[in-house]
Amino acid sequence: MSLLSLSDLAVTLRGRPVISGVTLDIAPGEFVGLIGPNGAGKTTLMRAALGLIPAAGHSSLAALPAVQRAKLAAWMPQSREIAWPVSVETLVMLGRVPHLGAGQRATEADRAAVESAIAQMGLGPLRHRAATRLSGGETARALIARALAQETPLLMADEPNAGLDPAHQISTMETFAALAAHGKSCLVSLHDLGLAVRHCTRLVLLGQGCVAADGPPAAVLTPQRLQDVFGITAAYLHTEDGPLFQPLKVTR
């Protein structure tokens, strides 16, 4: 059983092919890091997989009706947009939107999901704070809690680490890893290959709109691919504290 199945997915924007021929499956319990240089099509791939933009080929999620899809996959766009000063609790409760029928009020189950998401992200002390007045790290946590409250088997996030300090980056990755350990799956686009190598169970490398490699981190990040796709050399060490990855030089 896969949570997301893409076959031959292709997106053309303004006559220019952005991604093409993308085929991949995500099974429960995987923490997939989507990596690739700027402009490789990471965001486009995820949005097309969700059915937010028209695409050729097949996506198991995009094929579903919107409401059903929303019960299977939660999505965190890169822009951490919060338009109105709603409380953190209200913000997290928005994750329950797909589960409420028309005109239906939040049930005990909805409240429990919100409470658990708030607890998981340590937002208890901030729950009554206006979400527009949070720091960058707090905002990121609140938005992850919102996605968690959606209680979907698959969570997709676009560069959730952007703009966060090292401690927040690590704890964000650990949150996703913990979710995967509990049988959910995460598909997360990342720029920090070091973090990707340490936390992800699998990496999908995008280069020029195509899947250049797909598999365990050590198998994907070979020196040749780093050179071809990223144009860098890197040190990849296996230590007592786990794998360490450090980019070194630009080769082109």
């Binding site: 937010l52 899809r69 939660a74 109105w84 000063p85 209200t90 928005l94 939107v97 409420l100």
Partner: protein, 327 residues
């Protein structure tokens, strides 16, 4: 119902009653309310039932419509400056109404007037939403609004100036500023059906507007259909603004001031703001309409004058705030 809603509902009821008791004819409150209730052929019943009741009802309905439309547009565009009057929707509705009156369409078919205003409003709101884009940036929104208001205003003036009726040219002020003087139950029945449809349409948007707090992508991934929302919003706004403008002219700023004041009281949630703004709009317009009758009892002081006196400073304040945040 939350405390805010109860307070607003009580205030609306009190102001509605007050509106029934204010007028140039010196009537005792007890007698006039009794006459309103019992009816009859007497002059007091005539004043109450055919002059003051429609006026109070229209203030209530139009205020609610404008408050609701403002809250819905702001929620959708995620911009506190979106308001039917400021962005030219009321102005284009007025153009539609003026065209209906001065081509004779309104005289031939009683629904011609509200439907023409609806058509005008539809064009206005569709233009603004098209120009402002999915997330209405303040700059594009205001610029689009200025352009559409100016064009609609000029065309309205042109139609009125071309009219062979010598009174027409003097009515530009009414269409730009709005008034509830000397309306009748006919106007209530003319406006009510479209307004009810519009309220119903906008009322379905609450959850989608809440989800849009997180942006379009997040809302879309939560199962909200944005094209459907957009269509419902355009139609709903055009219905309520068109119907309001057809009978009372363009009354600005209600949809700006009311959501702005009430937002903190509803935890900034767009869905709760919708109905709170509807009641708040009714309160604001009832107050304004009572005030115009007290300030200048025998003249027709335009409602838009008062709403602008309150609204323009709020508008300036909001511009100042968005400027700080970077437009």
């Amino acid at each position: 119902m939350s405390r805010v809603m109860i307070a607003l509902a009580l205030l609306t009821a009190a102001l509605f009653t007050a509106s029934l008791l204010v007028g140039p004819a010196d009537l005792a409150p007890g007698d006039s309310l009794a006459a309103l209730w019992q009816g009859g052929d007497g002059p007091v019943a005539m004043v109450m039932r055919q002059i003051r009741l429609p006026r109070a009802l229209l203030a209530l309905m139009i205020g609610a419509s404008l408050g609701l439309a403002g809250a819905a547009m702001q929620g959708y565009l995620r911009n506190p400056l979106a308001e039917p009057g400021l962005i030219g929707v009321s102005g284009s509705a007025a153009l539609g109404a003026v065209l209906a009156i001065h081509t004779g369409a309104a005289a031939m078919w009683s629904l011609g007037l509200p439907l023409a205003a609806l058509g005008g409003a539809l064009v206005g709101v569709a233009l603004v939403m098209g120009l402002a884009g999915p997330r209405g940036g303040s700059l594009t929104l205001i610029l689009a609004g200025i352009a559409i208001s100016a064009l609609a205003g000029a065309l309205t003036s042109l139609v009125l100036n071309l009219s062979p009726n010598p009174f027409a040219a003097n009515e530009i002020v009414f269409w730009m500023m709005g008034s509830l003087a000397d309306r009748s139950m006919t106007h209530v029945w003319l406006a009510a059906p479209l307004m009810v449809i519009g309220w119903g349409l906008i009322g379905t948007l609450g959850r989608g507007l809440d989800a849009l707090t997180l942006g379009e992508d997040a809302a879309g991934a939560m199962g909200i259909s944005l094209p459907r929302m957009r269509l419902v919003l355009v139609l709903g706004t055009a219905c309520v603004v068109g119907a309001s403008t057809a009978v009372a002219g363009a009354i600005g700023f209600v949809g700006l001031v009311v959501p702005h004041i009430l937002r903190p009281f509803v935890g900034a949630r767009p869905s709760r703001l919708l109905w709170a703004s509807a009641l708040g709009g009714a309160v604001m317009l009832l107050i304004a309409d009572i005030a115009v009758r007290i300030i200048l009892p025998t003249q027709d002081l335009k409602l838009g004058v008062l709403t602008a006196l309150v609204g323009a400073p709020v508008f300036l304040h909001l511009i100042y705030k968005t400027r700080k945040d970077g437009i």
